[in-house]
Amino acid sequence: MADQTLPIHGALDLTPPRESQHTLLDILHDWVITVDHKKLGLMYMMMAIFFLLVAGAEAICIRIQLAVPNNHFISPQTFNRLFTMHGTTMVFLVGMPLVFAWANYIVPLQIGARDMAFPRLNAFSFWLTFLGGIFLYYSFIGGPGLYGTGSAPDVTWWAYAPLTAKAFSPGHATDYWALALIVTGFGTIGGGINIMATVLSMRCKGMTLMRMPLFTWLMFVNGAFVLIVITPLTAAQVMLLIDRYLGGHFFDTQAGGSATVWMHFFWIFGHPEVYVLVFPAFAIASEVIQVFSRKAIFGYPAMVAAVVGIAFVSLGVWAHHMFTIGMTSAGNAFFVLSTSLVGIPTGIKIFNWLATMWGGKIRFATPMLFCTAFLFQFLCAGLTGIMLSVAPWDWQLHSSYFVIAHFHYVLVGAIVFNVFAGIYYWFPKATGRMMSETLGKWHFWLFFIGFHVTFDTMHFVGFEGMPRWIYTYPADRGWQHLNLVVSIGGVIQAIAVLLFAYNLIWSLFKGKIAGNDPWDAWTLEWATSSPPPIYNFATDPVVRSRRPLWDLKHPEDPDWKYD
């Protein structure tokens, strides 16, 4: 059944592709100069996976150091650099590229377009992001600068003032950090504009806004959202550099500048940023759950409204990261309210996914396994988020390992899990081959176990009062046993991730040939060949319902009849 789907009429151009000499240099050249959205999408993806390995390796070093009390595996300076680089890398060089990887590869295909609205801007954005990554890691080499002190930033990813002032952070490491984020920031703005314009102006005939796949909807909201989310950070970084290079006083507490202003600016960016990171995970869930439950999404309009609602509300909750800075009681109360309000639209999403699965016939292939785990973990993470949003309790929990547990539950348990789901799901489209299911199942269970061993335990470490950012801890606090467990979990995750990397490469060459539509899905990307030709669709598709491929496959019972 699955393989019988036919390409949309005329979707394929049958003229043979130009014979090219496939020397390595040719291929490389091809990728470097490309403006094709699919190649750029894959490049974003490869960049993200590469940095996931790097930052993951950093996390493993952190965990080795913390496995036992009074450890001397790495020096305090190195430890501080490692978690700063780990956090910064994961957020800006893994999370953000992933947003654009998905948006680039999938969105034009799903809306029946041939490319993004501005292909060259698209390539430019990618290379800016990449350059940002180079800047950040160059700090290991160039960081000491003329002062000969330090290397790689060690100021946490919050980079609170005035620790980042020249007086407290000499050398160039902090500058590379700021510069890297400005540069990736511009890449992000370019990418956001592109997604927005693509979705608004490149849809094929009949693809009205209310017929767009939810994946595209989420990416669209995200594209517009990053424009107001990432820019405050850019502005704040410019101020930081003005302080450091031109002798400005924005965050110079000696000259009347304010440390809290940086906190506000950072979190005005930082909070919405976490939703920017999680939207792709929602997007993937919205596709995978439908297809593997064999049911169209439950409550489509509510799902769209919920995303917009989350984006909107999340602009007004930033100070829940700042409950301990001594705001007025009214201020604290306000941010408690606004923060817990986010739970409502998020709840709607969870319930609608559940309702979609309800009454379906759920096929637990690897993508769906990851997605189901995502649902469970996101629920837990959201509830610990609610605990954190209770200001008085946050006075206890803030900066403790409970917070670390909360956000890894979302960042790993939701985002990374769903990124894996998405890769297993769309790999056949991008390469023409299926990923190995056996390895996939192994990968899933190992990662699932490793994840829970690591991050479930972390909550209790937090309850025991262990703060974050500490390179060592005394033995008399009683934290050692749980920390050892956490570290073991980290190693299990590492094995799982390596297994995944192996699966990727193995499947690329040896995987089962996939065909155009291996999952029997409903959105337009499955209507073209795998991998899609450079122009995606030879003739522009025309769409009459939310499930264009369903209509194609079931002419006797098309969705549009019920509109």
């Binding site: 036919l6 390409p7 949309i8 009429h9 005329g10 979707a11 394929l12 609205a117 501005f118 801007l121 703005i189 956001g192 504009i193 592109n194 927005m196 314009a197 693509t198 608004l200 102006s201 490149m202 849809r203 005939k205 009949g206 517009a224 424009l227 107001i228 990432i230 820019t231 405050p232 850019t234 502005a235 704040a236 410019v238 101020m239 003005i242 302080d243 031109l246 002798g247 400005g248 006083h249 924005f250 000259a255 009347g256 500048g257 304010s258 202003v261 600016f265 005005i268 598709p541 025309v542 009459r544 264009p548 209509d551 194609l552 002419p555």
Partner: protein, 198 residues
């Protein structure tokens, strides 16, 4: 296996999509507005928080003439947009050039103001919080004027060499949108720096 046309061959209703140039420019404007908002908030927050002088009251003059020039350039660019829409390329070039001139006058004015502040009043970006926020905010705006002028200038060169024709009016309007934005930001900057902050 040949493909069977299962899709309704044509889509009956009209299919309108917004212009991607405009959408893109609006996106850029949204992003830029957010950047400016942060700088404006910083400016407002730090009003009167400098530990030492000079204060805005002592050294700032209200740049009325400058402001008139910049704001009227919004009108002239609108006139040239109208001209190109109607195919009046001479009118277009003329108004376009006037716009550039007005923008340049504004920049020169800002330069003179800064010269006076730096060499006469001794206010630099490192003097105090006022200096830091003032040069950053006004400088950020001036940077945008410079970028705008470069774009406008390039367009003028293309016009003079005859490369700009009526069918480019859409693109010209997109560019003009940016210029309008730069002007609108000045209204905010002007209010904050020269009226509220003085």
């Amino acid at each position: 296996m040949s493909a069977i046309p299962l899709v309704p061959a044509s889509y009956e209703q009209e299919w309108h999509l917004p212009s991607k140039g405009r959408v893109g420019m609006y996106g850029l404007i949204i992003a830029e507005s957010a950047i400016f908002t942060i700088f404006v908030v910083a400016y407002v927050y730090y009003i009167g928080k400098s530990l030492y002088g000079p204060t805005p009251q002592q050294v700032l003059d209200v740049p009325i003439f400058n402001t008139i020039c910049l704001l009227s350039s919004s009108v002239t660019i609108w006139l040239s947009e109208r001209a190109i829409e109607r195919g009046n390329m001479r009118g277009f070039g003329l108004w376009w050039a006037v716009t550039i001139t007005l923008g340049t006058i504004f920049l020169v004015g800002t330069g003179m103001e800064w010269y006076k502040l730096i060499y006469h009043d001794g206010l630099t970006i490192r003097t105090n919080l006022f200096g830091t926020t003032f040069y950053s905010l006004v400088g950020l705006h001036a940077t945008h004027v410079v970028i705008g002028l470069i774009m406008l200038g390039l367009t003028l060169i293309f016009t003079l060499t005859g490369h700009v024709r009526q069918e480019h009016s859409e693109r010209v309007q997109v560019l003009a949108l940016y210029w309008h934005f730069v002007d609108a930001v000045w209204v905010v900057v002007f209010t904050v720096v020269y009226i509220v902050g003085r």
